[in-house]
Symmetry: C2
């Protein structure tokens, strides 16, 4: 049997605003969903403060052991935006103004008060970098080696991901299917374990909830093999129904 | 000058459902806000998959360099709940059934179909652990050394944090204040940097947005010294107004 190549990515979320609780992160879920479609698995995430040593440590550990590394946050024009300098430090390269980024910013700010030194900061990139198109606002994202430097604001990152769609090599996308059931997950723990074991290559996650005064759970079957997911879902539905539980196809 | 002791915590979010994008994490922001009130700083976060080696690595790195380590997720009754075993492995101790947890679960399930082996799994703890009261559902949280093992479901974790409130040693809580301004942050980058520099001990974060067709930013001043935050906010408001920008006290 051939082993399937799994492509992985990691994410470093850079920002005191996430660690202070001020801002609810939305980039983890957004990147995870986008990566799934590219056939790339989000393998690990770190949230680090706006501090160079913390960024360097996370970037260097995670870029070495994943195919791709994404960062979000810290690429604006102000003093707390230190992502570019920190990643250049992690790579041991200098920081330069990218001429295309300068042109993009000059054009963008031509009707918005003109270019300034602070705005020009957003054209700074680690040496050897290329740009990622920003379809939403001015400053572009940055690619350097296997590192993709994205914005912190989720809808700007969404636009940058849009311009990367289909450009990264991946494997088969992970397919998932859900069975909902009005049951306490603890009642069917053995059944779930046995069903997962009987279908090598799937993972079954169990996500309980309490709603409308009733206990229920969604069981999510995942695998890159769509036919396998379908067979496992059928068996799971049948086993739950045979045990006398109220099953809802597609989840609750 | 005396150096102020800073208390730090880290969080390990355990869960394939976060890394797959299926579930939007809410525990990072919730824990961060709660820690602030306890005078403890959330210093770093990792999101790891439901895999023992990944959990062990994160737990051992982060518990060593922070005063406290929290985990969320993976303490339910099903086969994908491997947090307790993984943390026991990280600590090099065995796993035992905690008698008080057994009693809690027997009581909780007495009116819910009775105790079963799967449900009893939730009474398993690393050797030497104590329990954290669960005010919302049955299975308690777990404390072992400086590690606090919490639920994945946010409102259950909220209840567990509630029962820990005031019990962890911390320093002075970080105080923050916000000035909103209808300005592109790039126009005031120098002003922000200078204001931060003039008030040693504060950090100023800049959080831009685009709303109702206008560009604005919130500037957040943080420090454990409330008087210092107030002075810095006043100076920042004055400097922004003197530069001709429309300032909104308390943020936009």
């Amino acid at each position: 049997m051939e082993t399937e190549r799994i492509w992985t990515a990691a994410l470093v979320v850079i920002g005191d605003e996430i660690l202070s609780g001020r801002t609810q992160d939305k980039n983890i879920a957004q990147l995870a969903s986008w990566l799934n479609v590219q056939g790339i698995r989000l393998a690990e995430v770190r949230v680090v403060p706006d501090r160079e040593d913390a960024i360097v440590e996370a970037v260097n550990q995670l870029r070495a052991r994943n195919d791709y590394l994404f960062t979000t946050g810290g690429i604006g024009p102000t003093h707390d935006d230190i992502t570019v300098d920190s990643i250049a430090a992690a790579l041991g390269v200098g920081v330069v103004h990218h001429p295309d980024a300068v042109a993009v910013l000059e054009h963008y700010y031509a009707t918005r008060g003109g270019i300034t030194p602070a705005r020009l900061r957003m054209a700074r990139v680690p040496e050897g970098a290329t740009l990622i198109e920003n379809r939403v606002s001015g400053a572009p994202g940055i690619r350097v080696g296997n590192i993709f430097i994205m914005a912190g604001v989720p809808h700007i990152t969404a636009g940058m991901l849009g311009s990367l769609t289909g450009t990264l090599e991946g494997g088969r996308p992970v397919v998932s299917g859900t069975v909902g059931c009005w049951v306490a997950e603890s009642e069917v723990a053995d059944l779930l374990r046995a069903t997962e074991k009987a279908h090598e290559g799937v993972s079954i996650g169990s996500y309980p909830f309490f709603r409308e005064g009733r206990t229920g759970a969604n069981f999510v079957v995942r695998s890159p093999d769509a036919a396998l997911v379908e067979r496992c879902l059928e068996d799971l539905r049948a086993a739950l129904a045979a045990a006398g539980h109220e099953v809802v196809a597609g989840g609750i």
